[in-house]
């Protein structure tokens, strides 16, 4: 197993280096002049040149790349000019925010989608199958930010049940001591029940919006995979041998149907992490997607590069985790051969 992980990590190196070069070149190819943008409204051409020098943008591209690599080797991702912070600090505070949102969103989604898919597959044509179909159609056709706005309008603005969409914590709570960066877990570790509840309350609406959105691919995939497995020979054999129905469905069919579901889960997860910008916007969530988009708008190179690099590393880790999950789920899967 360790050898596999090591091999995987070494294998990922070329793609990470490729990502580094491509993002570096792409950010430089963006239209827009960061020097002119950050020199501010009262800038003269002279002032803009001064800013350009201060940002090191007067150097040639290869020179800039060498500077970038040197900084990177020291673990310095540069500074975001828009927020004035080191990119590393920004990512360290913002990635957990996005992760927390995405993880809970996926967890809720899995808890609903997988049983729903299994039930729909075992009882095709029944009311639960129709429910599954309605929910997946709704999930696909309602963009998460729209569901989010709707939830805010009804549950906060109209009814006043949900807390104000003001980010990760209500204004009268302060963040728990930093351990994982996930407020719910940090609050529990600190034994701070009130902050835990406050963090959960803030999570409620965005997590619901995300869960509705991600429910569709998961439920559909579970249903399709289950139907396929349930129609296969070994299930027929199991049925013929008179095994109990529960054992057939959960021990044999479900375990075999899990592979495509896990694949989908991985895809949805990586997609969500970067793509829930709109949900973050709606709920003033200080996540990494918002950060990247804002950097892109202001041609702020360092955060874009930092963001893409983080995402690349995250994908490598995620793919590895999914491969390991494959082995755990299905012993026949081997990577040595």
């Amino acid at each position: 197993m360790l050898r596999l992980i090591g091999k995987r990590l070494v294998g990922a190196l070329p793609s990470v280096i490729g990502v580094l070069i491509v993002t570096f070149l792409l950010t430089r190819a963006l239209p827009g002049d960061p020097a002119a943008f950050f020199a501010g409204p009262a800038a003269t051409p002279q002032a803009i040149e001064e800013v350009r020098r201060a940002l090191g943008l007067d150097k040639t591209l290869p020179e800039q790349f060498v500077v970038y690599l040197k900084d990177l080797a020291r673990g310095d991702l540069g500074n975001s000019i828009a927020t004035g912070q080191p990119v590393l600090t920004e990512i360290r505070t913002r990635l957990p925010a996005s992760l927390e949102l995405t993880l809970y969103g996926l967890l809720v989604s899995v808890l609903i989608a997988v049983p729903l898919g299994v039930l729909a597959a075992t009882r095709p044509g029944s009311w639960i199958d129709h429910l599954c179909r309605v929910m997946t159609t709704a999930g696909v056709s309602l963009p998460a930010f729209f569901t989010g706005l709707l939830l805010v309008y009804v549950l906060y603005y109209r009814l006043g049940w949900a807390p104000a969409p003001l980010g990760r914590l209500d204004i009268f709570y302060s963040a728990p001591p930093h351990v994982t960066g996930l407020y719910t877990i940090d609050a529990l570790l600190a034994g701070d029940g009130a902050t835990f509840r406050a963090a959960c309350a803030q999570l409620l609406l965005p997590v619901t919006a995300l869960a509705i959105f991600t429910l569709a691919p998961l439920a559909r995939m579970t249903r399709a995979a289950m139907l396929e497995v349930l129609g296969s020979d070994f299930i027929r054999t199991a049925r013929a041998s008179g095994l109990p129905k529960g054992k057939i469905v959960y021990a044999y069919a479900f375990r075999n149907a899990m592979l495509p579901v896990v694949t989908t889960l991985g895809m949805v997860f990586s997609f969500l992490l970067g793509a829930n910008v709109l949900v973050e916007k709606v709920f003033s969530w200080p996540g990494i997607g918002t950060f990247a988009i804002e950097a892109l708008i202001s041609s702020d190179y360092a955060p874009i590069q930092g963001f893409v690099l983080t995402m690349a590393l995250l994908y490598v880790a995620l793919n590895l985790a999914i491969d390991i999950l494959y082995i755990v789920i299905d012993p026949r899967v081997g990577f040595e051969s």
């Binding site: 409204p41 002032a47 940002l55 913002r94 104000a164 200080p286 202001s298």
Partner: protein, 536 residues
Amino acid sequence: MQRRVFLFACSAIVAAGLAVGPAAAQSRQETLLVLVENGPNSLDIHGVGTSFRSYVAAWNMYDRLVTFGRKALPDGTMTYDYSKIEPELAESYSVAPDGASITFKLRKDAKFHDGTPVTAKDVKWSYDRAVSVGGFPTFQMAAGSLTKPEQFVAVDDYTFRVDLPKKDKLSLPDMAVVVPAIFNSTLAKKNATEKDPWAMEWMKTNSAAGGAYKLDKWTPGQEITFNRNDDWKGGPLPKIKRVIIREVPSSGNRRALMERGDADISVDMPQKDAAEILAEKGSGKYLVVGVPIENSLKYIGMVTTQKPFDNVKVRQAVAHVVPYEQIYKSAIYGRGIPMALGPADAPKDASWPQPFPYKTDLAKAKQLLTEAGYPDGFETTISIDLGDATASEPEAVLLQEALGKIGIKATIEKIPGANFRNAMLQKNRPIHIASFGGWLNFPDYYFFWGYHGQNAVFNTMAYKDAKMDALIDASRYETDPAKYKQQVMGFIKMAMDEAPRIPLYQQILDVGMQKNIKGYTYWFHRQLDFRQIEKL
């Protein structure tokens, strides 16, 4: 027994809740929750790339030697008064009879937040820093003839003198803007390095201030909180004890939070929201206070160095085509003061900005265009800033449609915010919709940046005229009020006749606030000053 325990537990919980209740309510009463679209990106007003959103931190945390007075507008709204300079860190100041120097006496009891007394050497260090670090602060200082460290003299611990090359009416007001903030030089020097003698890196995220509000905590991209400095000596003690500025990117959510009463002040109001709430005339849940932004205009500019706009008749033709009324009504929902449709014999006085004498008159426009030699019109482009698309886009569409009526075929070019200034610098966008406002409220200041042949970024039309330059240069240092008025009216008249830029309207700064918020004051930097605000 068990029932008794249960009852006891219940009453204990209720009692605990009661005990907590009033305390929490009180802290809410003393706390001001402000919603913004984007927050500060630096705490250092001299920093590279410090955005205008950061002025709020610099303005409230730091003191300056002098500040502006306040006055009430006709509708009762308070605004700063640029004609009145009041002492802040300085106890008093005196201008030498020949105007060549200004001497400040500092308050002897003023202290920085860490307890260090404020002395003239801190003031000198801060002024030296502003003129030395380059970029925006240095240019802003130069606007008031403050350019070299040798001009600033710490006479003794509590006396500070500024020497001026010549008498300049902008020097003193320029010392009251956000840039010449007074830093704690002892603290700053501790955090300076050999490569970074002005502690630029450290100052980005830390405060070396002594003003009315202390930095509590800054989480970039989320919120910034301030606590009142109870030992502040620069003015009357502010009423609000704690201020929280929270970033809420969605304008719909900012409105929902205001309507539910969860927030006190909302700073970035879309014009449509402001117009709707103003239409309720105070019967709604909260109020909007709108103050015209001084010395600031939204305008249509035409590049005068290229055909066909090098011809004054073509520019005048465009000025007669613009659908002013429609723009006021449907592009900005009435949230702007019209700067066209003025009297035909304008300018009658030296006020600025004032309405230009143009109105929509297609026949006149067609005639001018024919006289200019373009009876069949021509093709051109209208460039707008995507960062300001809410208003600029409908304005451009309305203009495009109107130009079509006299045969000018225009396409619209939308330039992303990051690139707009660069595009304006190139001065080759035939028609562009942009805005410019000056911090110092003098017509000659506006014209120096916007119309003068020195060709600053803001002269987006690349307009150059020797007569106009002469008038602007003369008025800059004119001391005789009658002559000054004549010069100002002279260049305003030229701007109207020559029409390189067609003013559309003066922009309005709309701020939403709950009905119990009193004391809001408009400031030239367009950010909140917490010191005057109270919560009833």
